[in-house]
Symmetry: C2
Subunit: 125 residues, 2 copies
DNA sequence: ATAATATATTCCGAATATTGAATAAGGCAA
DNA sequence: TTGCCTTATTCAATATTCGGAATATATTAT
């Protein structure tokens, strides 16, 4: 029974749209500071931070401080197949109930919209 | 944003140890009546029924009545890879925090412990 | 019709999750 | 030090989920 409890806890950590989107951003960005996630997901800082805390507790992301910024990354990059299967399955379920599920692409953010060192660097180039 | 909400709802449906075990039984049994699940998971009938209702609402299982019995089956057999990835990931996360995750095998049930037609049939053989 | 059996549903208190608002904490620069 | 910036945490109100107990429903047999 213990093992299934762990799986359930993992599912719980994933059972939130913002957290799913954070993970998806980290799949493509490899590393992102909170201000970046703020900009990409269009959510308040405190809110993003709360969700990051849950992902941290679940062991899904790791953080690294660099000056004022804290950069987050996937703790376990091979979570991608799980997320992929989840999306695929959600699409299949939606289709079964008669409609096409679309994933609005997560907003891109041009380097001048974020002030972290990494983005400043890109702007300078 | 709508698509991720759907994925989150799917994750929510999976975020429960009993529901995960029900799905796992249905992966191997193909079809099982409630009394069967009762026996295999060692849970009260009403409780099993409640969890089945959640799985039904989520569109993950379908039911078919045969006399007094109601047989459940996976609505979407290709949910297996998702469940497999979830288990794999849970194992990986546990390992990261320093211990081996074990899945206690779900109790087998000899045909004479269940009274549904299907089991009676097996007993008769 | 009544009884028996299998399954489903409803009700409810307890525990947990969500999310906005306010505040705290940590690091850097002058 | 003071002030500023980025991020984290706490608090509180609301909503959701959990799981037990009791009850309801559907089917079959008598």
């Amino acid at each position: 029974m213990k093992g299934y409890k762990r799986v359930a806890d993992l599912m719980k950590a994933l059972a939130h749209p913002i957290r799913l989107q954070i993970l998806e951003v980290l799949e493509t960005e490899a590393e992102a500071c909170v201000c970046h996630l703020e900009a990409r997901l269009g959510q308040r800082q405190a809110y993003i931070s709360q969700q990051l805390a849950k992902l941290r507790e679940a062991g899904l992301v790791v953080d690294r401080r660099d000056g004022l910024n804290i950069f987050y990354a996937l703790a376990q990059p091979d979570i991608e197949p799980l997320l992929g299967e989840a999306k695929r399955m959600a699409v299949a379920l939606a289709r079964t109930s008669g409609f096409e599920l679309v994933f609005a692409p997560i907003r891109e953010v041009s380097p001048d919209q974020c002030h972290c060192p990494k983005c400043e660097q890109k702007v300078a180039v």
